[in-house]
């Protein structure tokens, strides 16, 4: 049973957490939602830092909490990264990393070197936390959580307290984490961009409840969640770099059933790239004409839903294996006589590479 089963009910003044959730124990699962939606509380319940009175929690078949059992936080094999780095100020970076390591069995002490290397902090080991930049501190905090060789890594908006520059500094490390480690991660975020870049599985939360959960690509293509994603609604396509056009500085990314041209970002041919297409950058047509838009694909309308504004519609189109969502006016949808199953030309104005 390689999954997490969590069932929590928690009532505080002005807030109620109420969910029954099964999450995969592989890859990165993003807990996404606005502030106050209960993502952090859920994470704290899973860590045992918060105790929901009648909660049940099973991780990989092991009971961490039910009516008769309660495993205290320090006996749960997890790692936790808080929003602020929260390093121990009385210890050096090395002391911080060793704090957890000294408390785990010797056979599990293999991950420290790897964590130091992965987060690029080997030159910082002798420093005290107050001599580190915000980004460095958060990297040390992540390494410290990894060093205890956790079976589950919990991250509570690890980038939220950082400015854009520091975020850009840490994101590549998180992506390496995602690519190189087998540790399952629960990642709390309210940033659609971070979710699109890092997650494999998505849980959308609002006011303490789960609105949707499922694999990232499918969940993002759902038409009943636009309110929560707002301007950032869009879909993800897993692609492989197929060709590079040196003359025009473009590269072609392929996916089963189609391909797209994007600006050449230097990724070598054959590498996997995650691509994001926002609904506002997709338009539909029933015949081909000359256009500045280079990416034109043939697809089949898969679903039509309402957008936030009464004049707008969201149309999901299947292109090969990939899903794209287009945002158009309802008048445009009517004049194209769109309906599920109809063939359309999909014009993609902009493609964002997430790597």
């Amino acid at each position: 049973m390689e999954n997490i089963h969590a069932c929590f009910r928690l009532e505080w003044p002005g807030f109620c957490l109420d969910l029954d959730l099964t999450l995969p124990l592989t890859g990165v699962t993003a807990l996404f939602g606005p502030s106050g939606s209960g993502k952090t509380t859920l994470l704290r319940c899973i860590a045992g830092l918060e105790r929901a009175p009648h909660g049940r929690l099973t991780v990989a078949g092991e009971i961490w909490q039910d009516t008769r059992h309660w495993v205290p936080t320090y006996q749960r094999p997890l790692g936790y990264v808080f929003q602020e780095a929260s390093l121990f100020s009385h210890l050096t970076v090395d002391g911080n990393l060793n704090y957890g390591i000294r408390r785990i069995s010797t056979t599990a002490r293999v991950s420290m070197e790897h964590a130091i290397e992965l987060l690029g902090i080997s030159q910082l080991l002798d420093r005290k936390p107050d001599r580190l930049s915000g980004g460095e501190r958060q990297r040390v905090a992540i390494a410290r959580a990894l060093a205890v060789n956790p079976r589950l890594l919990l991250m509570d908006e690890p980038l939220a307290a950082l400015d854009l520059k520091r975020k850009q500094e840490i994101l590549p490390y998180l992506e390496r984490l995602h690519d190189e480690l087998k540790i399952p991660v629960l990642y709390v975020s309210h940033s659609p961009d971070e979710v699109a870049r890092l997650a494999d599985h998505l849980v959308v939360m609002e006011t303490g409840r789960v609105l949707a959960d499922g694999p990232l690509v499918q969940t993002l293509a759902r038409l009943d969640l636009p309110i929560h994603l707002g301007e950032d609604i869009g879909t993800i396509i897993e692609t492989t770099v197929g060709a590079v056009d040196d003359e025009w500085h473009l590269m072609r990314v392929d996916f089963p059933g189609g391909n797209l041209w994007a600006r050449d970002s230097g990724v070598p041919v054959g590498h996997r790239v995650r691509v994001r297409v926002l609904a506002r950058d997709v338009s539909l047509a029933d015949r081909l004409g000359h256009s500045s838009i280079q990416n034109v694909l043939n697809g089949i309308v898969d679903g039509i839903g309402d957008d936030q504004h009464p004049g707008l519609a969201l149309v999901r189109v299947k292109v090969g294996e990939a899903m794209l969502v287009a945002r158009l006016t309802k008048r445009a949808a009517a004049s194209l006589e769109l309906q599920v199953g109809k063939q359309v030309w999909v014009q993609v104005k902009s493609v964002a590479l997430l790597e």
Binding site: Y74, Y80, F88, G100, R103, I104, D130, V148
Partner: protein, 226 residues
């Protein structure tokens, strides 16, 4: 002019008393301060008030109640007698017990403030790094509260050295047993030995000033934490 033997005896007694009381209060006051800093229960108010009581009570009031409690028919007196320890008033250990109560807030309050300043987060971090609550207390809370421990110990020590009213009520004035420096100054003044009184008083003034200077100089500058 050198100090007389009785002066030296009194000073030594003061230091021995203050040292013992500080050690006892480190053991007794730390858990009380920890509990006061961490609890959210309604008991926090009443217990906090009881701990602070010696700050406002006249030493004679406190001394009087302690004398009665430690006397032959008081609860503490009965306990010490049944344990074969005899009675505490007019003994060194009687002074220790009284001073522990009298100096309690000087240990508990700085510690409580220091523990509260740490907050929950470092302890939560310690828990996610496999440290049990007791482990986290000694390896995270105590090191982070170290300046608080220094301040609390120094204030307790100095306050005990400067104690007078409670000592007189509980200990009386027995040379080498309960006649501490502050009591000896009183003796000197009573006997109109102003030179001797001056000497001892000046010594205590300088001592107190230096200790407080150390406390304030030690206090780390408020820096941006991590």
């Amino acid at each position: 002019m050198p100090l007389s033997d009785s002066d030296l005896l009194a000073i030594w007694l003061s230091l021995r008393l203050a040292g013992t009381v500080t050690l006892v209060l480190l053991l007794v006051g730390t858990p009380i301060a920890w509990w006061l800093a961490r609890t959210r229960g309604w008991w926090k108010g009443p217990i906090g008030a009881v701990v602070a009581l010696p700050l406002v009570l006249p030493p004679s009031v406190l001394g009087f109640y302690l004398l009665v409690a430690m006397g032959p028919s008081g609860p503490i007196g009965r306990l010490t007698q049944s344990l074969g320890l005899g009675l505490l008033p007019f003994t060194f250990w009687g002074l220790v017990v009284a001073s522990v109560i009298y100096s309690l807030p000087f240990m508990v309050q700085p510690l409580q403030t220091a523990f509260e300043a740490i907050g929950d987060r470092p302890l939560e971090v310690a828990a996610t790094l496999r440290a049990s609550p007791l482990d986290a207390f000694f390896t995270v809370a105590v090191p982070l509260a170290l300046p608080g421990f220094l301040t609390a110990s120094i204030l307790t020590f100095t306050h005990t050295v400067g104690e007078f009213g409670v000592v007189l009520m509980i200990g009386g004035n027995l040379a080498g047993i309960t006649r501490v420096a502050s009591v000896l100054i009183y003796d000197h003044v009573e006997a109109l030995e102003y030179t001797e009184a001056h000497r001892l008083a000046a010594l205590m003034l300088i001592f107190s000033f230096l200790v407080l200077l150390a406390v304030y100089a030690w206090r780390p500058n408020p820096k941006k934490g991590s």
